[in-house]
Amino acid sequence: YQYNNRYAGDQIFRITPTSDAEVRALQKILGQIKVDFWQPNSASLMHQNATVDVHVKRNDTQDLHARLKLEGIKYRVFISNLQNEIEKQSGYRSSRKRR
């Protein structure tokens, strides 16, 4: 596997806070669960009705699912297994060619 399979089970969540209250709740949640911000680049740049894409480690995905549901914040998972997507991105074909 690429990167020693370190991204297996990690997910990318797309979260859409629809009010300032939800933005504040989301900032609190994402302050407690260590995530990697894909878009925007940091929690301070989040604002209502703007999508937030975060990379969540596999051990934290269930916790984040539960918290977002509890707060009623709209979200979906746009990459359900990051390792699979990484393997697909460069594809064995091309890396074999390169190697």
């Binding site: 990167y3 991204y7 680049n41 390169r98």
Partner: protein, 308 residues
């Protein structure tokens, strides 16, 4: 050799550098390779100058790719631009005119250390790879490290944050080297373009404040022409406008620095997509993404040869 190089796959740093040497060797009439300095880890910061030799101090365009390590489609586009420019010179009238009247400075990988780290260790690394003696975290956001309203809104002063502005402006040798080059050539530099991903946007100053730039009408029309040209390829729609309102407020960005240093047209592209693959754009989308973006860059460059 040039004909075997595959522009529709992502390449690691060493392959890109070898490719640059090959471009320099095989097309000496249009290409010059040079380095603007060294990275934090001591790697050369290579730039390709493209353009027909001849008049000194030709109007110039700077294009950098790979400021953020994980945005691999950037370096892919810079290589695509060089390939298309060289292969269509004398066959495409627009590109021929551009290379005859302009010089293009192309930096395929701005953040060489970060790009290499994203290939070998952390695919989603963003920053440079500089060390911070007080914190274990490494790296500065090279697009928050420019000396323009440095480390203000939209940037972080904490070394472990992804938008860390750095200990001081131009603390990153990569940023300092490019800033020094642009300062040296600012009279001839008419456009600064920085390629990022992902969001499908074309952004221009200001990032650090809500205000219109003095030449707003000309820049807005250049941006409109660019996204119209981009759309003509595959129908992909880009949003465009001042970065502060179109995306968010962020200080210390390269386009604000370039603009404040006298470069009249400064743009940041956020290439495909809008959140399906994100940074993991498949190699199968390199060709359409680069084809449409090339149309936009040619539109911006062509605008420089007209009066506004």
């Amino acid at each position: 050799s040039e004909s075997q190089y595959d522009y529709e796959v992502y390449h690691p740093l060493e392959e890109i550098q070898n490719w640059m040497f090959e471009m320099n060797r095989s097309r000496p009439e249009l290409v010059t390779l040079f380095s603007v300095g060294k990275s934090y880890e001591g790697r050369p910061l290579y730039v390709l100058q493209l353009g027909k030799r001849g008049r000194p101090q030709k109007k110039s365009v700077w294009i950098d790719c790979g400021v953020h390590a994980r945005e691999w489609i950037g370096p892919a586009f810079c290589q695509w631009f060089v390939k298309e420019a060289l292969s269509s010179y004398k066959y495409d009238s627009v590109m021929t005119r551009l290379l005859n009247h302009l010089d293009f400075f192309i930096m395929p990988v701005f953040n060489v250390d970060g790009y290499r780290f994203s290939w070998n260790t952390d695919r989603f690394w963003r920053k440079t790879r500089s060390k911070n003696h007080k914190f274990h975290c490494r790296g500065v956001d090279a697009n928050r490290n420019w000396k323009v309203k440095w480390c203000d809104e939209g940037a972080s002063s904490h070394p472990c944050d992804d938008t860390y502005c750095g200990p001081f402006p131009e603390s990153e040798p990569e940023v300092k080297a490019v800033a020094k080059f642009l300062r040296k050539h600012k009279k001839r530099m008419k456009a600064y373009i920085s390629i990022h991903a992902y969001a499908q946007m074309l952004l221009y100053p200001y990032s650090y404040k809500y205000a219109a730039i003095p030449n707003f009408n000309c820049v807005e029309s250049a941006a409109q022409n660019a996204v119209t040209a981009l759309h003509s390829a595959y129908g992909v729609r880009y949003r465009y406008g001042p970065a502060s309102t179109t995306l968010y407020v962020s200080s210390g960005s390269s386009i604000d620095w370039a603009y404040r240093n006298g470069i009249p047209y400064a743009f940041a592209f956020e290439l495909r997509d809008t959140g399906h693959f994100g940074f993991l754009l498949p190699e199968s989308l390199i060709k359409p993404t680069c084809t449409e973006t090339l149309r936009a860059v040619k539109a911006i460059a062509s605008g420089l040869l007209k009066k506004c």
